[in-house]
């Protein structure tokens, strides 16, 4: 027994590897930190402030700024201005959307809306209100004034003005019909400056714009027509189911075509 202990095996020696590797761990940690900081400083777009009359439904750190359905920024803080008249919404834009921070960009808050004949912003009921933007092309700026509603897009279309004695059931987004086909819609209704007429701003789709001539006749197509004739019997007509609720405008053009109406032409209703 005693002899065996004298012939104990010798342990082998080996090079210890990976000792130099040890200091890569703090270095990697530092690199990761640097990457985080880089993401915060370099890979982040500009911070802009948008002033709204009412920031209802927006949440700090929470609500998004979207353009074409894509998130382009996040709301950082909501603050009341000094004079308590507005809410300053501080938005952190993504790098990809840095060009949004230009003069002429228009911001508005998208809320769920339930209008007759049109429902919009349904997504916001679930996902919360968000800020939408229409980009501008001016100089760089970081301060914007938000608008209340989505701006009317300057699309290719014929805008005409109709003068009516009274509004009846017309409202924005009421349809405009030609032979029963919807060719446009009402954009805006308001009283004229002297309050003697109602101004109805209507937009005819570009495709149908040639139908509107200087001698076209417009009439209110809302509601129900009820005729009772001796020989024809009772006759109940309505332009469409939609006009029953939201009103509508119809027009016809006499066979003797006059020149095509231009933007801003005034017709009487």
């Amino acid at each position: 027994m005693n002899e065996e202990t004298h012939t104990l095996p010798k342990a082998k020696m080996g090079k210890s590897r990976f000792n130099w590797f040890l200091w890569f761990i703090p270095m990697a940690a530092a690199l990761l930190c640097a990457w985080y900081v880089c993401q915060d400083i370099i890979f982040v777009g500009p911070t802009i402030t948008i002033y709204f009359q009412n920031a209802e439904g927006l949440q700090e750190q929470n609500s998004l700024v979207q353009y074409r359905g894509v998130k382009i920024g996040e709301i950082e803080t909501l603050k009341l201005t000094q004079d308590r008249q507005q809410v300053g919404v501080k938005v952190q834009l993504d790098t990809s959307a840095a060009s949004i921070a230009q003069k002429g960009s228009v911001f508005w808050i998208v809320r769920p809306e339930l209008k007759l004949g049109a429902v919009s912003g349904l997504r916001t009921i679930v996902l919360g209100n968000y800020i939408a933007v229409q980009p501008g092309h001016g100089a760089r700026t970081n301060i914007f004034i938000g608008v209340e509603n989505e701006p009317i897009e300057p699309i290719q279309a014929l805008d005409i003005l109709l003068l009516a004695a009274k509004l009846d059931s017309l409202q924005p987004q009421s349809p405009v019909f030609y032979r029963g086909v919807k060719v446009g819609e009402v954009l805006d209704c308001r009283l004229s400056d002297d309050a003697r007429k109602v101004l109805v701003q209507a937009r005819i789709d570009q495709n149908y714009a040639p139908l509107v001539r200087m001698n076209s006749k417009f009439w209110n197509a809302g509601g129900i027509d009820f005729h009772l004739g001796l020989f024809s019997g009772a006759k109940l007509t309505a332009e469409s189911a939609q006009t029953l609720i939201s009103g509508g405008i119809a027009f016809a053009t006499p066979p003797d075509f006059k020149e095509v109406a231009t933007n801003g032409t005034v017709f009487s209703l």
Binding site: K10, K15, I25, L32, Y36, N62
Partner: protein, 203 residues
């Protein structure tokens, strides 16, 4: 130093010559590494705790939980989570979370760094021992960090329409936890009371 070593793997008792620096001993039979002390303890502990300290900051600054809940896009850092616990009068869980995920890790990391850095100093020996005692006391509480994610998830009140996914800071946080663990594991407490020449040998 000690001439006889038993292999931790196969139990073979063997003789060991003097070990030069930057080399390791291997068992004559099973070729596994054998050691008296934890290998390279001081440098390892320092490296791991430095890395943990570096990652401690992003793990607390950046959100570790991102939740989409009923259209709300919530990002929560550890500290915000604790604050919201306090706001809901969950003082016990809140302070427990504060201790386990903010206070004790940083105490432990700084303590380990202090010990490993000042190991050569002849003075402050008692302080080092005391710090090590404190580290040993708070060590089990550190392990609660593992449950932090579970607490966070329950904190955002998982509903049917909620999706919870890890935020940016979660990698730093996990790495910080693992590195702290490794730092404690690689620290050999015998370093604390080694005599100067033992120190030369074992560091």
């Amino acid at each position: 130093m000690d001439k006889l070593v038993a292999c931790q793997t196969c139990g073979l008792i063997q003789e060991v010559d003097d070990v030069p620096k930057d080399s390791v001993i291997k068992c004559a039979r099973c070729n596994f590494q054998i050691f008296h002390r934890r290998v390279n303890s001081r440098a390892r502990t320092l490296a791991f705790s430095l890395a943990a300290l570096i990652l401690y900051f992003p793990s607390n600054i950046y959100p570790i939980i991102t939740a989409d809940y009923q259209g709300q896009h919530v990002q929560t850092t550890i500290f915000q989570g604790i604050r919201s616990l306090f706001e809901r009068h969950q003082y016990f869980i809140g302070s427990l979370m504060f201790c386990t995920s903010i206070l004790t890790p940083v105490l432990k990391i700084i303590g380990l760094i202090f010990i490993t850095l000042t190991l050569d100093w002849t003075c402050w020996k008692k302080t080092r021992t005391w710090i090590f005692k404190v580290i040993r006391i708070i060590d089990p509480w550190n392990m609660l960090e593992v449950f932090l994610l579970a607490i966070c998830v329950s904190m955002v009140e998982l509903g049917e329409v909620a999706t919870v996914h890890p935020g940016r800071g979660v990698f730093a946080f996990a790495a910080c936890v693992v590195l702290t663990l490794l730092a404690t594991l690689s620290f050999d407490s015998r370093l604390l009371w080694d005599s100067p020449e033992e120190k030369k040998h074992y560091e």
